[in-house]
């Protein structure tokens, strides 16, 4: 390794370490500040809680054997919604690619649905699907589905025209074009829709849990609000932050594996 390369690597490592230290510092600073302000009543400890109370609250949840149940319910619902959304959006996108007129007709409605805050449909969904987990999943699927359809269909339609011409020169049928060219060349687009889709699913699940649920992190937050236990509310929010970050990172990792 040349000296330039060595010093380049060294600089790179130092920069990474500096960034990491800043992140830890900001996090600690924020937590300590929060704790101190709350302890000295500078911010209302009843509303804003404090890190130590949050930790206590989470330990209590753990002792009551509830912590992992709530976390698991949210993750489980999110994953189910993610998979269902993925399968449906893939199939719908193929149909929209094969039948251009259908796509052009539905385009207007897709755009409308895409811009509609799907949470607005929540009450309707509950009336139709019942006040249960089914409603939560339906809602999450609705939220991630439309975006995925738009992204994947767009990817399909962006297939290189020259390659389509090549397929035609071999006398390929529409289905062969989809199978040998359109789907495999949109692989990257499909995979990169995963990250968006998992975030959307989580949003859907939490909004669903706000409306109907007996468990889950969304339930914890709403329940905490109803009984004025703001320690619980803030614990729920913090747990959600952690879960969503982990889910995002896991999906990102899977993407990397699949794109190798």
């Amino acid at each position: 390794m040349s000296n330039e390369q060595k010093s380049f690597i060294k600089k790179y490592k130092i920069k990474k370490a500096v960034i990491f230290m800043w992140q830890v510092f900001i996090l600690l600073f924020f937590l300590i500040l929060w704790e101190v302000l709350s302890k000295h009543n500078i911010i209302n400890p009843f509303i804003f809680s404090s890190p130590s109370k949050v930790v206590k609250c989470i330990i209590n949840l753990y002792k009551d054997n509830n912590l992992f149940i709530h976390i698991w319910v949210t993750i489980y619902e999110t994953l189910i919604a993610f998979v269902i959304g993925l399968v449906i959006s893939f199939l719908v996108s193929i149909i929209l690619y094969l039948y251009n007129t259908v796509y052009k007709v539905l385009d207007l409605f897709l755009t409308c649905l895409n811009s509609l805050p799907k949470v607005a449909l929540g009450p309707m969904i509950i009336i139709i699907a019942g006040a249960n987990t089914k409603s939560i999943i339906v809602m999450a699927v609705l939220i991630n589905l439309i975006v995925s359809i738009v992204v994947i269909t767009d990817g399909f339609y962006n297939t290189d025209k020259i390659k389509i011409k090549l397929m035609n020169s071999f006398g390929a049928s529409k289905y062969q074009i989809v199978r040998y060219l359109v789907i495999p060349s949109s692989y990257k687009t499909i995979i990169s829709s995963f990250k968006l889709s998992i975030s959307m699913s989580l949003i859907g699940v939490v909004s669903g849990e706000f409306l109907v649920s007996k468990a889950g992190l969304g339930y914890l937050i709403i329940y905490g609000t109803q009984v004025f236990n703001l320690d619980l509310v803030i614990s729920g929010i913090l747990l959600l932050v952690i879960i969503s970050y982990i889910l995002y990172r896991v999906v990102e990792y899977i993407e990397k594996l699949l794109l190798k």
């Binding site: 020259i162 390659k163 011409k165 090549l166 397929m167 020169s169 071999f170 040998y180 060219l181 060349s185």
Partner: protein, 249 residues
């Protein structure tokens, strides 16, 4: 020489919302078996349109293209990036056979032999992006030859390459085509390329294009395009065609 295709009075109009575009107008010529024809014209003059009509990918608005054999198999070669990055080289080359559902042991061997013959056997399991521009061109041509076409159509096969690669690759491609003995129609806007490779050059006018002129190219020897460029008659043809394209109305 046996006549393979007769092209009679073909014209093509594209209808778009912006209006009607007449791309080519009343084009007639013959293609003989084993012949290498180059069609030259300025960019946007309708060369690709003409080639697509000859290859039966699109229908002419008027006129007919008549093949003297039943169900001719057509080989069409496009620019470099028409290789599929989601397949390796071997699968790319076998694509046409898969589509035609005629992939068997025999023609698989044939394709692998072609890859070996043109020094691509070590790249069979590589992705297109790992190959040089020239190699990709050889792969595209072999992919086209894999279906054992009766006639080859090349649409600006070297347009994506830089000048020096272009010369080498045109030598390689020329050799592969001559080895295969296929009738070939190549479209290009490069006069030198046309003269150095083809037996006959057809010059098209600007849009809507008609056949402006056609020349039988007689050079001393015809073995490799880069050498042909040094032939004493090369410049003579070059000037003629240049003038045709220049005072182009």
């Amino acid at each position: 020489m046996n006549k393979l295709v007769s092209v009679r009075h073909i014209s093509k109009k594209y209808n778009t919302l912006q209006g009607e575009i007449e791309a080519i107008k009343d084009i007639s010529f013959d293609i003989n078996e084993g012949e290498f024809i180059a069609i030259v014209g300025t960019s946007g003059c309708g060369k690709s349109t003409l080639l697509s009509i000859l290859a039966k990918l699109i229908k002419p608005s008027d006129g007919i293209v008549k093949y003297n054999i039943d169900n001719p198999v057509i080989g069409y070669m496009l620019q470099e990036d028409a290789l599929f990055e989601h397949y390796n080289i071997l699968d790319n080359v076998l694509l046409g056979l898969k589509i035609k559902k005629s992939l068997n042991k025999e023609n698989r061997e044939y394709v692998i032999d072609l890859l070996k013959k043109y020094k691509l056997e070590n790249f069979m399991f590589k992705k297109p992006s790992e190959l040089s521009g020239g190699m990709k061109q050889r792969v595209s041509l072999i992919r086209t030859l894999a279906i054992q076409p009766d006639i080859l159509f090349l649409d600006e096969p070297f347009s994506a390459l830089d000048f020096s690669t272009r010369l080498n690759v045109s030598d390689d491609v020329y050799k592969i085509i001559k080895d295969s003995g296929k009738t070939t129609i190549m479209v290009t806007h490069d006069i030198g390329e046309a003269i150095s490779m083809a037996d006959k050059v057809i010059v098209l006018s600007k849009c809507p294009s008609v056949v402006k002129n056609s020349y039988y190219i007689e050079l001393d020897k015809r073995d490799c395009p880069t050498k042909n460029r040094k032939d004493k008659r090369f410049n003579y043809y070059y000037d003629l065609i240049w003038k045709d394209l220049d005072n182009n109305e």
